[in-house]
Structure formats: C-alpha cells, structure tokens
C-alpha cells in the first residue's frame, strides 16, 4: 500500500515539473532571444604542435581542493582539507589542515557568523567549511601563480567563491601583471541572471535557473559570451560553454581586464577538454583526482593518530553500532 502511494506521489511530482518547464521557449527561439545580449561562438582546437608557440612555452596550473568530514553529528565533527596546485611540467604545491567546531577558536567564529547572518550554528559551520577551503585554494593559487607564472591558472569554481578574501586582489594583480590568464571553471552553473534577462520567471511557478535555460541549446565546442554591458556576476566576464558531449553547459569566469583574451582562452580550454564527458578540461580533472581525500584515508589517519578514547567518546555515532 505504502509503495503504491509513493509511486502515485512520484508520478504527480513528475507531471508538475514537466508543466513547470512546458512553456519555456524552444532552443531556437531561446538562441534568438539570447543573441540580443551576447554571441554564440565556436571554439577551434589548437593543433598539439602549435601549443608551445601558443603558450610561449609556459605551463598550465589547475587548483582544486577537497574536504572530507569525519563526524557523528554537529558539533562532533572533524574535517580534513587539502588543496593542490598542479602544474604541467612542474611539481605540486599543496596545503592541508583540519577544522573542527570542538576547537574553541572555530566555535567562537561560528557563533559570530551565526549572529551576523541569523542562521543556526550548524549552517554557519557549513558556510565556514566552504569558505575555509576556498581561502586555502586561493592561497595555493597565489603561491602557484608566483612560482610558475603559468600561461593559464584554472580555479575550480566561480570567482565569487574567492573574491571575498583580501588575497584575491593580490592574485588578480599578479595575474594581470604577469599575463596569466585567470579562469574559474564552473561545473554546476547556479546563477539565474540569464533567465531573468529573458524574463522567464513568473509568479506562479518555481524559479528557472540558467542551467535549465542553457541545457541543450549549445553545440559541442560552442560557447556563449555576453556583451560587455551585460554581466552575469559583478564585473566578471562569464562565458557559458559546452565543450563535451554532455548537453549540460559549464561556466568560465574571466577577469574583465582580460576580456580580450577570452577567445583564445576558450580555444585553449577546449583543446584541453576530452570530447566525451562533462566538458571539463582534463588537467582540472586530474588535479581533482589527485587532491581528493578518500574516506579510507581519513579513517586510517583517525585510527592511527587519535586515541581510541577520543574516537569512541566523540566521533562514534551510536547509530553506527546498530546491529541491523
């Protein structure tokens, strides 16, 4: 009986979602409308033999971070963080650390955030983790930019994640001065600006985001760049692109100072992206795989370096001891 009810609910849900997107314009119409704000451009693959000339023999750096939580429930949580700047033809730059609300300093910070933003401590902790990792990535990126002065520095995620910190200005300056193209590769587009420009959001339906608008309207190797007076976020030059077979678009943020370099940068990024798959440059995928902390790794570390007393008392959830 229960299952029958669940199935019915799911079917209703499916109908409602379909209805919500039903009166969205067709891809062609959308493209026409979008053309008012920007241009659709095809990327060109750069022949491998021309790469050294193209980059003036400079390398590429990708920066990514990873975190994993070892916890029972708030505040009994311990988070491992690691960031990595991986440079083609150079050695890795890494940073790492742990964060836990059981650390008084951290706890005080959480209380502050919670008060300021009027959110719960737990939500504050989630935010804190997100920004701490972003901050660590930013520092790693800065170090890599100074060390390698690469042709391109790829960050994992949009610029909004990083530009809240003081060091962002420094990174920006270093990149512009050294002609390092700085880009933030966004795997999951979360903005709704484009949808708003297209006036797709109505009162009586759930909000439409850019990812739904962009789904399936780009060809493989095509990107969408907006006119300089149209900004998706702040004063950054944001490009939406489909570089792989997946119909879901990705985003690339560039500095407005480097707007002129966007075309060749997109060609370069496209060259580094495998045809099949989600359309993320391989170098960023490799960096992501290298930095990832595995659950077993974290558990091994905890087992080896925390006293069993501490481990049992604080981090072992009772529910993990259920027999079935």
């Amino acid at each position: 009986m229960l299952e029958a009810h669940l199935i019915k609910s799911l079917q209703d849900f499916n109908e409602r979602i379909k209805r919500n997107y039903q009166d969205l314009p067709q891809a062609d119409t959308l493209r026409d409308k979008i053309s008012l704000f920007g241009r659709f451009i095809y990327c060109n693959k750069i022949d491998a033999s021309r790469i050294p000339e193209f980059t003036e023999c400079r390398p590429v750096v990708a920066v990514d971070g990873s975190r994993i939580e070892y916890a029972s429930f708030f505040p009994y949580s311990l988070v491992f963080m690691r960031t990595l700047a991986k440079c083609t033809g150079g050695s890795d730059i890494t940073r790492s650390g742990i964060i836990s609300p059981l650390n008084l300093e951290v706890y005080n910070q959480l209380e502050k955030i919670s008060d300021e933003q009027d959110i719960s401590l737990e939500e504050a902790y989630t935010l804190h983790l997100k920004y701490s990792l972003a901050y660590m990535e930013l520092l790693t990126a800065l170090e890599a930019a100074k060390t390698y002065k690469p042709y391109m520095l790829m960050l994992d995620g949009g610029f909004l994640l990083f530009d809240r910190f003081e060091e962002w200005e420094e990174l920006r300056r270093v990149c512009i001065e050294n002609k390092i193209i700085l880009t933030g590769i966004i795997e999951e587009i979360a903005t709704a600006e484009l949808a708003n420009w297209l006036d797709l959001n109505r009162d009586n339906r759930i909000r439409i985001y850019d990812r739904e608008v962009l789904f399936g309207i780009l060809e493989v190797g095509e990107y969408l760049i907006f006119n300089s007076d149209r900004r998706i976020k702040k004063d950054y030059c944001t490009v939406f692109a489909r570089l792989g077979t997946s119909p879901q678009a990705i985003g690339c943020d560039f500095l407005s100072e480097q707007e002129d370099d966007v075309f060749k940068s997109m060609d370069f990024i496209y060259t580094l992206t495998p045809k099949s798959g989600q359309g993320i440059p391989l170098w960023l995928q490799i960096t992501d795989a290298r930095v990832r902390i595995k659950r077993e790794e974290a558990e091994k570390l905890v087992e080896n370096y925390l006293d069993p007393y501490v481990k049992e008392k604080i981090f072992k959830a009772n529910r993990k001891k259920r027999a079935f």
Partner: protein, 620 residues
C-alpha cells in the same frame, strides 16, 4: 617502492610510481623489527588512474588529442602509471609487515642464501633463475658466464642472472627428479642439460632412449662460447637392444621370460603356466625352443606311437637320453595339453628371436659402461624398452644391492658395482598409473621407494604426469615443470608439489625452456630458464625444412635436363635416354614434373605451342 594496503605475515602488496616490478624478482622489505625479510614478486600489475578501463561505469576512452596537448605543456599522462606487486615473503614471520615500509632491490650477498645452494664445481648448473637480472651487477665472478641462454630467434645469449645450481649430492636425502612438460615446452632440452651436467660430474647414467635422440656427440652450435663448448662422445656409450645388448637366455626365470613374451603381445595365465612347466633350469635358448617345438609336434601328430617312432630315428639327441626326454615330453603333454597355448608362446618367442634380443653377451656392455662411470644410452622401440628396462633394471639393481649389502655386512666384496642414475623420457610408459601390467613398473617403483639406500636414483621425464604411477610420482623429490596445459596434469602437479596457485596459473603459458623447479633441496619453488645445451639431438632437422631441401640426385637430374633444353614432346625421348644412360630411369611424366619444378624456380620458361603442345626453354 613501499608496502601498501593490508599486509599479513606471508604476503604483502608493494607499489611504486617509478619502477616496474619484475615477476620472480627478490626484494628486501625494510621492516627492521622483522629483520628486513626478503620477498619474491609473484604477481605484477600496472595501473594508470587517468586511463581507466572502459566499462559501463566509465564508458569513455581517453581523448588522445588532449593527452597530446598536455604532453606539449610538459605533462606526460603515461608517467602517472602506478606499479603494484604481490610479494610472497620467503622467511617465516610471526607478525605482519608494517604498512608503509620501504622496499628495495637487494645486493647479491643479501639474498645469496636463497639463490645459491651449491657452487658450480660441485652442483649441476641447469640454467638461470628468473627475476635475478638486477643482481647481475653484484654477482661474484665464479657465478658468471657459466649458463649462457638460447632464444629461438636470436640464438645464443649471455647469462642474464644468477645461475640455478642444483646440489645433486643432496639427492642422498631427497632422491629422484621428475621433469614434466608438454611437447615443445623445453622438457627434452631440460633433460639433455641435466644429463650433460651429470656426465660432467662422471655420474654413471643408464638412459633409456625410445626416441633415439640421446646422443651427446654433436656440438649444439658452433657459435657457443669457447670455454663452454664441450662434447661428451667419449663419456657416453650408445647401445641398441637386439644388436649391441640383449638378454642372456640362461639368466631368465619363467617370470622374466613371460614378461619378455608379453612385450610382443599380452600373455594369458595358461601361457604363463605352460612356460613355467617347460622352462628348466640351465636351459639355453636352443634347448628351450627345441623342447617347445618337440612338444608342439607331439601334440600335432595324430598318433603318439608314430611320433615316438620318428623321434627314435632322430640323430640330434644322444641315444641314452632319448627315453628320458620322451617321458618328459609325455608328462608335459599331460600338463600343458593345449596346442593353441603352445603355438601362441612359440610365435611370441620367434618374434623376440627375430628382434635379436637373445644374445650371449646379454647386458655385459651396460654393466661395463656403468662401471667405467659412463653414460650408457639404451635405444629400442618403446614396446621393447618397456620390457627390456625391467630386465636390465632388476639385474643391475640387484648387483648394486648385493654389493652394498655385502659392504654393510662386512662380507668379502667380489663384484663391485657403482651407484647410478636411471634416466628415461616417456616415463609414464615405464611406470604407468593403474592396473595394467607393465613389467618395468615394479622395478621403477622399487627404486623410487628404496633406491636411495643403495645410491640408485631416477630421473623421469614425461608429458603426462597424471599417467605416472602415484607412488613413483610422490617419490620424485625434485620436480622441474615446464609448460603444461592439461587440467588433469595441472591437478597432479598442484597436489604433488609446493607450487602456489599463482604459478599454477602461469604454467599453461610458460615460454619454451622456462620452468618451475620445486625441490626440498632448494627449499622453495624457483622459476628457471634452462641454459643452452652443449650438445644436440641428431635429428633436429625440421621435416618441413626437409621438404624444401634438394638432394644431390635432384641436382644431377636437373643438370642433365638443362643440357637438353629446349625440350618439347618430340625430343622428350632423347632426354629420357640421356637420363637412362646416367642411371636415372624415368618416365615422361616424371621428367615433366622436374621441368615444372624448374619453371617454378625460374630456371626454365614454359611456352604453349600449337604444334608441339609445349616447349620448355632456358630462361635468358
């Protein structure tokens, strides 16, 4: 290189992102608390996490253009390979190895004990231990250049690792050697090398050679290194059953004789009884056959009195013995009675006589050869050898036993007889498993079980270990196993040796000349590449090469035909005559065949001619 993952006290996994692991190599695991144990690599893997296997979870092949571009940027995806290996620890540990400890290549002296059990002057240098290439740099002089190798395509190759030296003296405690492997696995080659080494040590060998391939005269290859080149012609003696050696009839008892008869064709119980009745002690071949023939005549003659009358006329028997002999025949007639039985015995016996197996000197040459510490090679067809081996083995094993027993009892020693090895290929024919009655099995089984006491050892080679007698198999302490494919044979090998499941899995795919040695003398299973032989079998010519070869006669015929060109229907007769004058009687079609052969070779051209049918012309 370091130890990774879960470990236990006998196996660990090691990983490296720079160095490939080599199968069978020895590595030192630097775990101080356990005394830095040595391990052997038993499985190897390589994995590139960025070039994943394609399956339903990741159906994506790596994009080569992207990889190429990254390479131009200074990043080689191929260098991301992680090498892992399963390592079996060779010593007994009581605690597991710590994860994370370093693993390194050893220096020769650190693993010497595990690899060298005897020095080259005292042991048998059979080949090179696989996986020891890395130790070549630290290998002492005395172990170098003693085991060159051979590759089918490239020929003779330098020794590329630590030599495998079998301490044959330890066979006193761990007797007998088995050599197993399918055809083309290198089994015969391995057997040859083993025999060569024993010849060098002047160990008396008795080799039964059903394939007529055991000769140690011809040098394997003229390009062998000079210090390695050696022939053993003067230390070996080749004898053929029926022409050089045989059976002295006087030494046979009825059981022996029945065994011999059964080599021709199986013998019934009635025949055995008949032989037992007819054979008298002191019989020679002549007395026995005449008695048998007389008995047959007696049974064949319709009237006994007629036979007696004719008998009394015979001049070949002394008068005073005639009556007694006649009585004996009459008694035998009552005992045996069946004419068909006697006739069956008779045709078997005649066949043996025609083979020349009965000879006065019997096995004298074999005994003399062994006493002179030579290798005695006995050739014969397999059916004959099966029976003959039983006879020879019983005889010489007894001699050796009597000598040793006398020695032990402190008696006066008359017939000194040396210890010796018995070697045979196709051993499953000599000591088969199962019920069937094979005369040689009893002797081989006895030597297998108690030969050690008397210094008599077996070297048995076979491609079907599963068909070899169980008791014999179990007594083969040292086993050298080459490529084996049949599952029943693999099953027997698994049961009878300490070879691990990883090695069993490799057995069907071993390259020719590479085998595993499982021996308590060595203490563990070792993978070995057999060294190049010093000598070669006389018939190594490939039959297909033979087809492509021209003999002298062909050349001469073609020369004569060549002189008669052009040839057509009208002058074919002249060619025929010319050939006949030179001693080649050939028909028309035969000559045409030769001409066609010459056309194929491009010496001659063939034209069709409307008048003459065809013309064969010399090619300009």
């Amino acid at each position: 290189m370091q130890v990774v993952g879960m470990t236990n006290e006998h196996e660990v996994w090691a990983a490296s992102n720079r160095r490939k692991f080599r199968l069978n190599e020895l590595l030192i695991i630097e775990d101080d608390k356990l005394g830095n144990p040595v391990g052997e690599v038993i499985e190897t893997y390589a994995l590139n996490p960025f070039i994943p296997a394609v399956d339903e979870k990741s159906p994506v092949l790596i994009d080569h253009e992207v990889v190429d571009s990254l390479s131009r940027l200074g990043y080689e995806i191929n260098e991301e390979v992680i090498y892992t290996a399963k390592i079996r620890i060779l010593s007994e540990l009581f605690y597991p190895v710590s994860t994370g400890v370093r693993v390194r290549e050893p220096h020769f002296h650190e693993v010497e004990e595990l690899l060298i059990k005897s020095n080259p002057s005292e042991g048998l240098v059979l080949g090179v231990i696989q996986g020891t290439e890395g130790l070549l740099g630290s290998l002492p002089e005395e172990y170098r250049d003693i085991a060159p190798l051979y590759e089918n395509k490239t020929g003779i190759k330098e020794q590329n690792g630590v030599p495998f030296i079998l301490d044959y003296r330890a066979m006193n405690n761990y007797p007998h050697i088995g050599i197993f492997g399918g055809s083309g696995s290198g089994k015969s080659f391995g057997l040859r090398v083993l025999i060569e080494e024993l010849i060098k040590k002047r160990v008396p060998l008795l080799v039964f050679d059903p394939h007529y391939e055991m000769s140690f005269k011809e040098i394997f290859d003229p390009s062998l290194p000079p210090h390695f080149k050696e022939s053993f012609e003067h230390r070996s003696l080749i004898l053929t059953v029926g022409s050089d050696v045989g059976v002295k009839f006087e030494t046979l008892n009825s059981g022996d004789l029945c065994n011999l008869l059964s080599a021709v064709s199986p013998v019934t119980e009635a025949m055995e009884n008949a032989v037992a009745s007819i054979l008298e002690s002191g019989d020679n071949l002549e007395t026995f056959t005449s008695r048998l023939n007389d008995l047959i005549s007696l049974l064949e003659s319709p009237d006994e009195s007629e036979f007696k009358e004719a008998f009394m006329q015979r001049r070949d028997i002394e008068e005073n013995k005639k009556a007694q002999y006649l009585n004996r025949l009459s008694a035998l007639k009552k005992q045996v009675g069946q004419l068909s039985t006697l006739k069956s015995i008779n045709w078997r016996l005649n066949r043996l006589i025609r083979q020349g197996i009965f000879m006065e000197q019997g096995i004298r040459q074999i005994e003399e050869g062994l006493k002179a510490q030579k290798t005695v090679i006995v050739r014969g067809s397999i059916w004959m050898l099966k029976v003959y081996a039983a006879y020879v083995l019983r005889s010489i094993y007894n001699k050796r036993r009597e000598y040793r027993d006398a020695l032990q009892r402190g008696q006066k020693i008359e017939n000194k007889f040396p210890p010796f090895f018995v070697v045979t290929d196709e051993a499953h024919n000599f000591a088969p498993r199962g019920e069937q009655n094979v005369p040689s099995r009893r002797e081989i089984k006895e030597i297998a079980q108690e030969g050690r006491k008397y210094g008599v050892f077996l070297i048995l080679a076979t491609q079907r270990p599963a068909l070899l007698d169980d008791t014999v198999n179990a007594q083969l302490n040292t086993k050298i196993i080459f490529r084996t494919v049949r599952s029943t044979d693999l099953g027997v090998i698994k049961e009878e040796t300490d070879i691990g499941s990883e090695e069993i899995k490799r057995l069907p795919y071993l390259p020719s000349g590479t085998g595993f040695v499982s021996s308590p003398i060595f203490g563990r299973t070792v993978s070995m590449r057999v060294r190049v032989a010093k000598t070669r079998s006389p018939h190594q010519l490939n039959p297909f090469d033979e087809l492509e070869m021209e003999d002298e006669q062909d050349k001469e015929v073609m020369e004569i035909i060549n002189q008669c060109l052009p040839v057509n229907q009208s002058n074919l007769i002249d060619v025929m005559k010319r050939l006949e004058n030179r001693g080649f009687g050939m028909g028309e079609s035969e000559i045409i065949n030769y001409l066609d052969k010459m056309v194929e070779k491009g010496i001659v051209g063939k034209e069709n001619n409307p008048l003459l049918g065809f013309i064969y012309k010399r090619n300009s």
